[in-house]
């Protein structure tokens, strides 16, 4: 990021590029945690679809799919927080350490919860489609071998289902990365928040948001390429 003098524009000082990179780390870390947690939750929700819990699960999914993410973030950060007892809020907002691990800020925690619930509703949809795509014979054969329902799911159906919907799932993960930008509304110091901060401090409006755009592009494109490459590698292994 050396200044291209021929452009005749002011460039962002290294200190501000540093702020942006801190934002990238925060964005990547939040995205990773949300993708893992939302996948687990999404699979559980999809697996519950054929069960007696179908209607409550559908209601839960609808509530998270059909409301704006920003409102859900505000609900968790401002709304739920105002219902918690004062002592709980004091604890949640104070720094805590568990060995080498530190307790996350309340902003991060609320963002993680809201994003995970929101994303899991979409991931559940993809996983459900995958489960439907696995031939009925696979279920029947597994049952015939004496497997319990969760064993059927874990060892036989789910691996096939996930392979079927790998690309749409990857698309959901890319959406998670972009959706983390909304958490700037509740004060999470991720990339968008940082770029806005840099803009305030430097008044270099175009530069601040252009660098943020570029960094998002690298992050999302990088994840996409890595995901595709992983799939190709797996296929090669599976076919052998």
């Amino acid at each position: 990021m050396s200044p291209p003098a021929w452009l005749g524009y002011d460039w962002l000082a290294p200190r501000f590029i540093g702020w942006m990179l801190e934002g990238v780390v925060q964005t990547a870390w939040l995205s990773l945690l949300v993708c893992v947690a939302a996948s687990v939750l999404g699979i559980v929700l999809a697996a519950l679809q054929p069960s007696r819990l179908r209607w409550p699960v559908n209601g839960w999914l609808a509530a998270h799919r059909y409301t704006p993410l920003l409102v859900q973030l505000l609900l968790w950060y401002f709304g739920v927080a105002s219902l918690l007892p004062e002592g709980a809020m004091l604890w949640l907002n104070a720094p805590h350490a568990f060995g080498p691990l530190t307790w996350p800020s309340f902003e991060f925690l609320a963002a993680f919860i809201a994003l995970t619930l929101y994303s899991s509703a979409f991931i559940a949809g993809e996983v459900e489609a995958g489960l439907r795509g696995v031939p009925a014979g696979q279920y029947a054969a597994a049952h015939a071998l004496g497997m319990r329902p969760w064993q059927v799911l874990r060892h036989i159906v789910l691996p096939q289902a996930l392979r079927l919907v790998y690309r749409p799932l990857l698309g959901q993960y890319l959406a998670v990365i972009k959706n983390t930008s909304l958490t700037m509304a509740i004060g999470v110091a991720e990339l968008s928040y940082r770029s806005r901060q840099v803009e305030t401090e430097t008044l270099l409006t175009f530069q601040a948001f252009a660098v943020a755009t570029l960094l998002y592009l690298l992050l999302v494109l990088g994840t996409q390429l890595a995901g595709v490459r992983l799939q190709t590698a797996q296929r090669g292994y599976g076919d052998a």
């Binding site: 401002f78 004091l90 907002n93």
Partner: protein
């Protein structure tokens, strides 16, 4: 173009003062014309009941008029036309929450400051008394404000969390997400006034940055400037300045704000 116009106006004002002292004109007319806000409570606003302009600035102006022994005539103004009114001679003084800045000092003279505002904090009662205590606290600010920058530059150990606007920051404070929030003092006072649980919070008794409000005068009116300054200093001395302050910002008002500036503190 603009600067030429201002120059012309300045020359006109200069020429004016060369011929006659403004004080003589005011006394001859029997009227002191003061530019005051008509929609900026509590500094200057149209009182719904009396239909008169009232406020802290007006109270100060009233004392200046009575010292001169003339009638007070208020000229309604807004931030944009304060200086033009004064420079064109349509007003003798500006008393409209008029902040002292070097740029303005090129066009007008200032009295001693009679009011000070600046970056302050709301926190839970008793939890924030000195600026040193800011270190390690989580403080809510408004995105894109100078307050955010000041805090980050001067108190690097403070964790600044920025929100989209002041009411959201205040919601975060009331929830306990942050330990304090920061904004301009009078804005915080108004915010606190409307909170249902305002008894739990207070405005911390210190100010990080300072802005001073003073009476604006035409350039080169040394006698008028001295008279205004004398009136202001005597208001502080005889306790009238405190009374005026308490009328608009005192403990019994809707938006109380501790007084931490006295006339004469800043010259």
């Amino acid at each position: 173009m603009k600067s030429k116009l201002i120059l012309a106006l300045l020359l006109a004002a200069g020429a004016n003062s060369a011929f006659a002292d403004r004080i003589d004109d005011i006394k001859k007319d029997g009227v002191l014309r003061v530019a005051a806000f008509d929609s900026n409570p509590p500094f200057g606003f149209l009182d719904a009941q009396t239909r008169q302009i009232n406020g802290l600035d007006v109270d100060v102006a009233r004392h200046i008029a009575s010292k001169l022994g003339v009638k007070l005539e208020l000229v309604p103004t807004n931030p944009a036309n304060r200086i033009p009114l004064l420079v064109s001679g349509k007003a003798d003084l500006i008393a409209a929450n008029f902040t002292v800045t070097p740029d303005r000092a090129k066009q007008v003279d200032f009295s001693l400051p009679y009011f000070a505002s600046g970056q302050q904090f709301i926190a839970r009662k008793g939890s924030l008394q000195k600026p040193d205590q800011l270190a390690g606290l989580r403080v809510g600010a408004d995105k894109g404000t100078t307050q955010e920058i000041t805090l980050r530059d001067k108190y690097p150990a403070t964790k600044v969390v920025s929100y989209d606007d002041t009411p959201l920051a205040f919601a975060a404070l009331r929830n306990g997400n942050v330990n304090a929030i920061t904004q301009d003092g009078s804005k915080l006072a108004a915010l606190l006034a409307n909170a249902p649980d305002k008894d739990k919070f207070e405005i911390a008794p210190f100010t990080l940055t300072r802005e001073y409000q003073a009476i604006g005068l035409p350039k080169g009116e040394a006698r008028l400037q001295k008279l205004v300054n004398d009136v202001l200093l005597s208001l502080e001395k005889n306790g009238e300045a405190q009374k005026i302050y308490d009328r608009w910002f005192g403990p019994s008002t809707k938006a109380p704000l501790p007084r931490d500036f006295k006339i004469g503190d800043k010259v």
